[in-house]
């Protein structure tokens, strides 16, 4: 070994340094090589062969309260996109040819020492929670006899691009059969984490397929307004047709402040039908949210202001008296129309639909609770039993609804309650007593009244004549004899 001249003490150090350098360099080289080959999978983020992944995120417990917990996502096929058997996600999608199109969001997880997947950002957490609820809603669909109705995996649009300023909301779009979630800007629980609202939106897909599809031009959540306001690019081939169809939604007249003509009978009926369908759709969707979570105030978790108006936990008396009557709906439509201005009319009509919808939701919730108490069922079982009845009712409801409209008649809440009773052949007396006040509120005229009777051991609702003899205390006193004259 040739050595340069220099201080003696440098010599051994130089050798030593070279010695160390050679070995450290070799060690690093070997480490790099082993890591390179070891990382051939490039990621430890792989689901097991069954596609099961344990995730930590907020989810409802059995009592409906939300907390951070570990849950299993099943059927995961691509962990980077968090897609699998139950959900497929699109980031800021477009609608093209009645399908969502867009890139999949990239999930980011950290795997802890227990092998649990921890979302590293809000988006990933929301994807995981939505996937969980889709998985649970698929099981619920199966339990309620809806297997095969919905296409799985469900398409879900995340961070849907908003040009009109819509935030803090979620929508179901029937044409693309997808759930669309817009950014959440409030400080409460994000809608994407709210199982009740996700179940609500999921119900719209059920209502669309069992009732609306091929039957009505009416969309859940006013698709036209939503797409317009949300700035979602609908690139469907038939968009012009759709646009025209939606513009003339159910023959809705254009309203303006200059138009002071009263609504034509046909127009009024068409608007009534739209309002009623939308109200029922929203109401039953709210019932679905409660049925799924057990929380009557599930909307308030994410939307405090809307939650107050849509809390399903009201007194029973209120529930009964506020179930909408056809005459009340028509009156409201006429009043709203008289206010003029198309935009105002549409927003007021939409708000009115939600209000009516809450009445439906409260009624069905009330019936489910009485049903459970009278049969001594667990609350969750009773909720599902009534949900099953709703599923059975929907095709018949739609047939009745169409028949009524063909005969120029208003299908109203009375018809709906009667249909529910038809679907409850083993009616208990408590259930009958609970429903009769509603029926009497909804009936037209004072000469007849609904009451509960027992025929051949079966409880039935019967419409009977009412005696008009006034109660004794309301009779006028007899004329006094005039004895002074």
């Amino acid at each position: 070994m040739s050595r340069r001249k220099g201080p003696v003490f440098i010599e051994p150090r130089e050798d030593f340094v070279k010695f160390v350098f050679d070995r450290v360099t070799a060690a690093i080289f070997l480490l790099v090589l082993s890591l390179s080959t070891g990382c051939s999978d490039s990621s430890s983020f792989t689901a097991d062969p069954q596609g099961t992944v344990k995730v930590v995120a907020p989810a409802p417990t059995s009592d409906g309260a939300y907390k951070l917990q570990v849950f299993e996502l099943l059927g995961i096929e691509d962990l980077k996109e968090l897609s699998g058997q139950f959900a497929k996600f699109f980031f800021s999608p477009k609608i093209r040819n009645s399908h969502l199109e867009g890139e999949a969001p990239r999930s980011q997880f950290l795997v802890n020492s227990n092998g649990e997947y921890i979302p590293k950002d809000e988006m990933t957490q929301q994807l995981a929670v939505i996937y969980l609820h889709m998985q649970r809603l698929a099981a619920l669909d199966k339990e309620l006899g809806l297997e095969g109705l919905n296409k799985w995996p469900r398409d879900v649009g995340m961070a849907v691009n908003v040009s009109g300023g819509i935030t803090n909301n979620a929508f179901y779009d029937g044409q693309s059969d997808s759930m669309l979630i817009v950014p959440y800007k409030a400080q409460d629980m994000a809608i994407a984490l709210n199982g009740g609202i996700l179940a609500h939106e999921h119900f719209h897909s059920i209502f669309y397929k069992l009732a609306l599809k091929n039957n009505s031009k009416t969309e859940a959540h006013n698709r036209r307004d939503f797409l317009k306001a949300a700035g979602i690019q609908d690139e469907s081939e038939n968009k012009n047709e759709n646009a025209e169809e939606l513009k003339n939604l159910a023959g809705r007249p254009e309203v303006s402040s200059e138009n002071s003509k009263p609504l034509a009978v046909t127009q009024k009926r068409l608007i009534y039908q739209e309002t009623f369908l939308r109200a029922l759709n929203e109401g039953l969707a709210d019932y679905w949210g409660w049925m799924y979570t057990g929380d009557p105030d599930f909307i308030a978790l994410s939307l405090k202001s809307a939650g107050r108006a849509r809390n399903l936990d009201r007194t029973y008396k209120d529930v009964i008296v506020t179930l909408p009557r056809a005459a009340d709906i028509v009156d409201k439509i006429e009043m709203t129309y008289a206010d003029g201005e198309n935009e105002k009319f549409e927003s007021n009509a939409l708000a009115f639909s939600y209000k009516l919808g809450t009445s439906f939701a409260r009624f069905f919730k009330y019936f489910a609770e009485v049903y459970g108490e009278s049969r001594q069922l667990e609350n969750v079982r009773a909720r599902k039993d009534i949900a099953r009845k709703i599923v059975e009712m929907l095709p018949e409801f739609m047939a009745g609804f169409k028949e009524a409209s063909d005969k120029d008649r208003y299908y109203d809440s009375l018809d709906l309650v009667k249909l529910l009773l038809e679907k409850t052949p083993d009616l208990k007396s408590e259930e009958c007593e609970a429903v009769v006040p509603t029926l009497n509120f909804l009936k037209i005229g004072f000469d007849k009244q609904y009451s509960c009777v027992v025929v051949d051991g079966k409880v039935q609702v019967e419409l009977t004549e009412v005696s008009f003899a006034p109660p004794a205390e309301t009779l006028l006193p007899p004329p006094r004899e005039n004895k002074t004259l």
Binding site: V17, C39, Y66, R106, S113, D121, E122, M123, M189
Partner: protein
């Protein structure tokens, strides 16, 4: 990706192997200790809107150079990245330790203040996630994960008169490849001002 990474790595080594004998002709020191008190270090990391954004770190680096080969030990602690709201919040933080081999083998001349360099690193990183929901919170750690790095940069030296000290300014682009990195590879940049002592 892996193959190309290995190829680049082997290419660096071959460059290094060719360069090392040549260094024997350089009549210059030598040994250097270098420390950098002022470092700007950033990496492109994906945010909640799925966009790549620069995450900055506090970085400490120290090195020992023998001729044109430098061993550099670097520690970086990246700023907390938070997403969510008051009800549900996720905060992440990443720390990494890298051992760099830096090759000053594209050099104009010994006295030239400018140098181009290549570097390779083996390191570990650890990420911590704090998840908060409705007041409850938990902290999870990824544990230490391996990563590989490569960098290309330029160095400018300003020797102090009559002194063994010199000031160095380095600007470099870098990329890391490793298990569970997102994006993978993760790219970044560093600029630093350091002081080296020759002996």
């Amino acid at each position: 990706m892996i193959k190309s990474f290995i190829t680049v790595f082997l290419m660096f080594f071959s460059l290094s192997a060719r360069a090392l004998p040549a260094q024997k002709t350089v009549d210059l020191p030598k040994n250097k200790i270098w420390i950098s008190p002022l470092v700007y270090n950033s990496q492109l990391q994906r945010n909640n809107e799925q966009e790549l954004q620069l995450a900055q770190s506090s970085t400490f680096a120290i090195s020992y150079t023998r001729n044109t080969l430098e061993f550099l030990l670097e520690y970086s602690l990246y700023g907390r990245n938070s997403s969510g709201n008051q009800t549900s919040n996720i905060e992440t933080q990443k720390a990494e330790w890298n051992l760099w081999l830096r090759f000053l083998n594209i050099k104009h001349s010994a006295q030239d203040p400018w140098s181009l360099y290549l570097g390779l690193a083996a390191g570990i990183y650890e990420r911590q996630v704090t998840t908060t929901f409705m007041g409850d919170s938990r902290i999870d750690s990824s544990g230490k994960k391996p990563q590989l790095g490569a960098k290309l940069g330029v160095e400018y030296k300003v020797p102090f008169v009559n002194s063994n000290w010199e000031m160095q300014v380095r600007i470099e682009g870098r990329a890391f490849y490793g298990q569970d990195l997102e994006p993978n590879p993760t790219s970044g940049a560093q600029g630093n001002l350091g002081f080296a002592y020759s002996f």
